[in-house]
């Protein structure tokens, strides 16, 4: 390359192409995204935040909560499970024999271990998992078989993965979850737990406030810094404030004082409670019933 013009052209091509790919194309694809529709329902998602929660997002931003918390749940995959919910006129022993008769069939061979395990010590309690982790096709086939045998069954779709086992969410996070966020703060480090679904996991505003004031009062081994500057410690006036925190003895302020959350703390908690990524969407399906999966 002998002249500056050559460098200029190379830069325009290299950066220009990635600009088109990672700036222009996503803007065209997602920039005008509308509300998503909840699966098997006419409800739209996400719900607009309340005023408090919208302000709380700015408290979350200003204090850099995203430095330690992510808001993105990962999943390893989606699977179906088939639950036996009624035996009809069959006896448990008959049903066991029926299942055993399926084992040699070629289409159930790769499930044979699972089926044997499921019914080894079964004594007729319901609901019973027939197939715990399978694909849609096998689940439908099994449901048809059970129906033909006169039994009742339920098929459920669920997402699985470490984050979901940890209880951080019921499905992976998708683009639709962040439609109303500005700024969108996905986070990149999990020094603390994921918060994508914290409004469902920990729906009690008082516990959230306690946790912000003295994290160790809620989670004993917490490494979260306390955010005491979001609270006011003041002398109790003529009557204790109804908003005062009900702190355990070791975290309580001096006698005659009470801890009252400032506006910021309440807004932040309102925002945390608004984080509820718990509806099934087309791109992240699941059956919204508490399932008995293994």
């Amino acid at each position: 390359m002998k002249t500056g013009l050559g460098v200029f052209i190379a830069v325009v091509f290299a950066l220009g192409s990635s600009w088109c790919g990672f700036v222009l194309a996503p803007t065209l694809q997602l920039g005008s995204a509308k509300l998503a529709t909840v699966l098997n329902s006419t409800d739209t998602y996400p719900a607009q935040r309340t005023g408090d929660a919208t302000l709380g997002l700015q408290i979350y931003r200003a204090n850099g909560c995203a430095a330690c918390h992510t808001e993105q749940v990962r999943q390893d995959g989606v699977a179906c499970e088939v639950l036996l919910t009624g035996l009809g006129k069959n006896q448990p022993e008959e049903f066991k024999k029926f299942m055993q008769s399926l084992l040699p069939l070629p289409e159930w061979q790769h499930h044979s271990k699972e089926l044997t395990e499921a019914f080894k010590d079964w004594n007729g309690t319901l609901p019973q998992v027939v197939l715990g982790r399978t694909d849609k096709e096998s689940a439908d086939k099994m449901a048809d078989l059970l129906k033909a045998a006169g039994c009742k069954s339920e098929s459920q779709i669920y997402a699985f993965g470490t984050d979901i086992t940890r209880g951080w969410g019921v499905r992976r996070s998708v683009a639709a979850d962040f439609l109303y966020d500005n700024p969108v703060q996905l986070g990149s480090l999990r020094a603390g737990p994921d918060l994508a679904n914290i409004g469902v996991r920990l729906a009690d505003a008082n516990i959230q406030l306690l946790h912000l004031y003295a994290p160790k009062s809620v989670a004993k081994n917490s490494t979260m810094p306390a955010f005491r500057y979001l609270f006011e410690v003041r002398k109790i006036g003529s009557a204790p404030s109804p908003d005062a925190l009900n702190l355990p003895q070791e975290f309580a302020p001096a006698a005659g004082c009470e801890v009252v959350p400032k506006m910021e703390a309440r807004e932040l908690v309102a925002y945390l409670l608004s984080l509820r990524a718990n509806v099934p969407l087309y791109e992240a399906p699941f059956t919204p019933v508490i399932s008995a999966k293994p």
């Binding site: 390359m1 002998k2 002249t3 500056g4 460098v7 200029f8 190379a10 830069v11 325009v12 290299a14 950066l15 192409s17 990635s18 600009w19 790919g21 990672f22 700036v23 996503p26 803007t27 997602l30 920039g31 931003r61 204090n63 850099g64 995203a66 430095a67 330690c68 992510t70 993105q72 990962r74 470490t162 086992t165 940890r166 992976r172 996070s173 998708v174 683009a175 979850d177 962040f178 439609l179 500005n182 700024p183 969108v184 996905l186 990149s188 480090l189 999990r190 020094a191 603390g192 737990p193 994290p215 989670a219 081994n221 917490s222 490494t223 810094p225 306390a226 955010f227 005491r228 500057y229």
Partner: protein, 478 residues
């Protein structure tokens, strides 16, 4: 190729034209380096004792940690890089700095912008986007200052006497074009009044962060090394053809990295990024070959001098690039994402690679530009050894902690508190590394400031002597 630059008569003129601009850029950079590392230490203290700053909103981890990173990147790396670019353009072009007063103004604007931005972050006025935390006022100042310096650099570039370009020219000129494009895009689309919606924000944020922290730093750092290494080793760069290949592959593959592979965005985006991350190995290998071929067997005793800094910086660049490529691979990313591995790679890129190359360049150029020896050459050599120790103690434990954290996070039966507890030991070691780096930064700042003060005293004495000097007899008569 103009490797053995002929010492021409305007050498002193070139140096004099650069003097004030470079002092303005490097002086501020040294201050921000110390500030950034000190903030980094404060941030990691929170992990040793979580309640330490519970009553002080200014020092809460979520504010101090981004402030520390921004002070290092925008406070130290960029102004140091701009100074080095100006010097290399003037040296390679054998021409004095065009518009010598513009960078002085720009440097002051830049440092003012960094100051406003950092105060804003600590006060809670951050934008919430990684690496773009600075408030709008600060971003405007930085952008204006960058343009002013880029114009000066381009004018110097245009006035060069040797028309053919040195490979360092490609990298550095590309960097001058790169930054305004990415910085304006990111700020207009993310920090403006009507930002883009939803996950388009993090997508553009990742694009920007990758193009600044990986590609831009790589362009300037590698370009500077391609100028310094052959010059100090007194051998030609091996070879221009390889360098062209490395340059083109670096910008074409590098620009497409950065979208994490599990991100909640349309799947084609992370897929493209992972592919580009894998291809990044190509320029890394090419650059490694160039460096080895250029300095292999060169008999240069460096003992902690600029040559050592540059060599160590290049080793860290290759390592950091490999870690970056590994992080882009979906298989490893599943484990390494959301752990301390990411910050370890970023710190290796900033402090192990880029800062080391800048230290090398500044220790090499400052005595020439100032026409005076370094005040404490021994401390400069000590700085090298302390920096190596600091980088190793800071980055290696953090990366190990990240891998361990990632593996444990994969097992849902290990509670998060236990995962964090296992990282604590490594974290303590890495804080020691930060303290060493801070000490090194103080030595660096000491050298620069004593040099500046001596120069100012000399200027003052010259001026004083000129005033006190008895008037020539002829003037008295008149």
């Amino acid at each position: 190729m103009n490797l053995n630059e002929p010492e021409i008569s305007t050498d002193a003129g070139i140096n004099a034209s650069l003097r004030v601009s470079l002092l303005a850029l490097f002086g501020g950079a040294a201050v921000w380096l110390v500030v950034g590392l000190a903030l980094g230490v404060i941030a990691s203290l929170t992990f040793h004792k979580p309640d330490m700053f519970a009553d002080c909103s200014l020092l809460t981890y979520g504010r101090v940690a981004p402030a520390a990173n921004d002070a290092l990147l925008y406070g130290f790396c960029l102004p140091a890089a701009l100074g080095v670019i100006l010097w290399i353009f003037a040296r390679l072009g054998q021409t004095p700095l065009a518009l010598p007063m513009v960078p002085v103004v720009a440097a002051n604007l830049w440092h003012l912008g960094v100051f406003i931005g950092l105060v804003g972050i600590l006060a809670g006025a951050t934008s919430g986007h990684t690496w773009l935390e600075f408030s709008r006022a600060a971003s405007v100042l930085l952008f204006a200052a960058f343009l002013l310096i880029a114009v000066t650099a381009a004018a110097t570039f245009g006035a060069r006497r040797e028309r053919e370009l040195h490979p360092a020219h490609w990298f550095l000129f590309a960097a001058l074009l790169w930054f305004p494009w990415i910085y304006s895009t990111a700020n207009l689309l993310l920090a403006a009044n009507a930002p883009v919606r939803g996950v388009v924000q993090p997508i553009i944020g990742w694009w920007f962060a990758n193009n600044l922290v990986f590609v831009w730093l790589a362009l300037v750092g590698v370009g500077t090394a391609f100028y310094l290494l052959p010059k100090i080793a007194a051998r030609p760069l091996a070879t221009t053809g390889y360098a062209l290949f490395a340059f083109l592959t670096l910008i074409f593959f590098g620009a497409w990295c950065g979208i994490p592979s599990g991100a909640p965005v349309p799947a084609w985006l992370p897929t493209l990024s992972s592919l580009a991350g894998g291809l990044l190995i190509v320029p890394l290998i090419a650059i490694a070959i160039i460096v080895i071929k250029t300095i292999g067997g060169a008999k240069v005793s460096c003992s902690g001098g600029p040559f050592c800094f540059t060599k160590f910086g290049m080793v860290c660049f290759i390592l950091s690039g490999l870690l970056y490529a590994a992080g882009a691979c979906p298989k490893y990313s599943r484990v390494l994402e959301f752990t301390w591995f990411g910050p370890a790679q970023v710190q290796l890129q900033l402090l192990g690679f880029f800062a080391m190359i800048m230290f090398g360049a500044i220790y090499e150029l400052l005595p020439r530009v100032m026409n005076a020896e370094l005040p404490f050459p021994k401390l400069a050599r000590l700085h090298f050894w302390i920096s190596i120790l600091g980088v190793a103690l800071f980055v290696i434990p953090l990366a190990i902690a990240g891998v361990e954290q990632g593996i444990k996070l994969q097992h849902a039966n290990v509670a998060l508190a236990d995962v964090n507890a296992s990282a604590l030991m490594f974290f303590r070691i890495s804080t020691t590394g930060q303290l060493f780096l801070l000490l090194g930064a103080l030595l660096f700042a000491l050298n620069i400031f004593v040099m500046t003060i001596r120069w100012k005293i000399a200027l003052f004495k010259t001026a004083l002597a000129a005033i006190k000097a008895p008037l020539p007899v002829s003037e008295v008569k008149a």
